[in-house]
Amino acid sequence: MILQPVFSESWALIFGLFGLSGFILGWVAQRGNYCFVNAMTSIFTTRSFERFGALLILFGLTALGTGLLVAFGLIPPVDQYFNNYFAGWYILVGSFIFGFGAALAGGCNLSMLYRASSGYVQNWIELFGMMIGTYIFAVAIWPFQSYTMENGILSTSAGGYVEYLPYVLFHSVSNMAVYITTMIVALPLLFLGIYLQMRTRSKWGKSVSMKGPGLSAVGMKALPGLPGPSAPSIPSGLRLKQEAKDMLLLKKPYGTNLSTVILALDMIFVFIVGAGYTFNYLVITSSDGGRFFEYILMPLGINLFTNTPWFNSSLPIVDPSTLMVVMLCIGAFSASFLSGDFKIRIPKDRKRLAIGFVGGMLVGIGVRMALGCNVGLMWTNFGQLGYDGYIFLGGMLAGVYLAVKVQEKL
């Protein structure tokens, strides 16, 4: 098969646009306080599905956007399945370890980066732990894991279109097969996400109204995702305008669903930009743990890619995700600085730093085992119309649940 780029762009432009996408990702995630782990933790602690519902909407919108682009023939299907990974035991185990570690450390791969850029020292420690975890994985786990992958032990060994859902369901990658699969994947995710959000909001509404009119205003204000009490004299159009102005002037954080829509558009943007060049290698943030560890050692004359397993076979020295991660940090820093949030924050309880480091190590081991993180494997895979994202979601939820239970005991 001869692969033809969809658009004729220079590599400089592709790298630049991936950098821009990273900047948007960092900015929006910081302004929306977007965290996959917090979304899952809140299910088990406060029984709130508000943010988890937003995650499902994010996956659904991404699948819908990329799927329709392919179904209508604007982007060839090869761009969705070209880099599809092999599914196997390691995704389930890795996502479980990742969920557990990230919930302990206090942030998923995305929130770790934007919080570290906003001055949270615990997330710096988590990032360092992640680098060490990646090294431990590379020398201790990767040789065994790659053996099971090569020999198909509890692992598929095809990847590519064989693990592309339209092919799995219809044995075809035709536009119609992609269209139907897109609907099968995206619509349930969207409806479930919206339903979960509505259920949570109605529950909040009930609990607030039970408090009585005197307390309702205070209760409403304290709940995230709900509009605060409004004076009846202000027309809703004017209030909306004021809210939009406050968000633009960085006086107010972005709402969960606004962030969700922008992030989904960002992923679709990368899908279009990378068509024919990077294929479905879309929004990747976990390579920082491995690659940046390698980068730190380079000035010391140590090149891990020359003699260390995984480092010598899994990551090119640079790719568009390098600039994406760097620009994500710059975007998050800019957003936090301009909004006045930026501050070096050292946790008063120093035990949190040690927990952050251990959690970060588990995150490093988990993401490398699973072949990606919550962004690069789970979210991206929904855009690839694969099934690894579902496996990752299940494993991560189980890991986060265990971490919540462990933290209750601590």
Partner: protein
């Protein structure tokens, strides 16, 4: 009224971190560019000499990366210096109002 405003600015001086932050950002951008130019290009040559084509980046891609990094570096440095200048002015104003 004026006294109230004065006491307010005395209570809340403009934080130094907001002055240093953009400067650190600009320096980071320059350091990243220099690092890419020196170490990543060097590492790519080592990968080629060892014939490790799994990590080797073809010249057109590496050149594209360096070009994009250069432009990003320019933008970040200029924006960082502008932010630094604005913050510095605000810092000096808050100091003057405080004294």
């Amino acid at each position: 009224m004026e006294e109230m405003e004065k006491s307010k600015s005395k209570a809340k001086p403009y934080p130094v971190r907001r002055v240093i932050g953009p400067l650190v950002l600009s320096l980071f951008a320059i350091a990243w560019y220099q690092f890419s130019k020196i170490y990543l290009t060097g590492a790519d040559n080592i990968a080629l000499s060892k014939a490790n084509f799994l990590v080797y980046v073809p010249p057109d891609q590496l050149q594209g990366y360096l070009e994009a990094t250069t432009w990003i570096c320019y933008v970040v440095v200029y924006v960082g210096l502008m932010m630094f200048w604005v913050s510095l002015v605000k810092y000096v104003q808050s100091k003057e109002a405080g004294s």
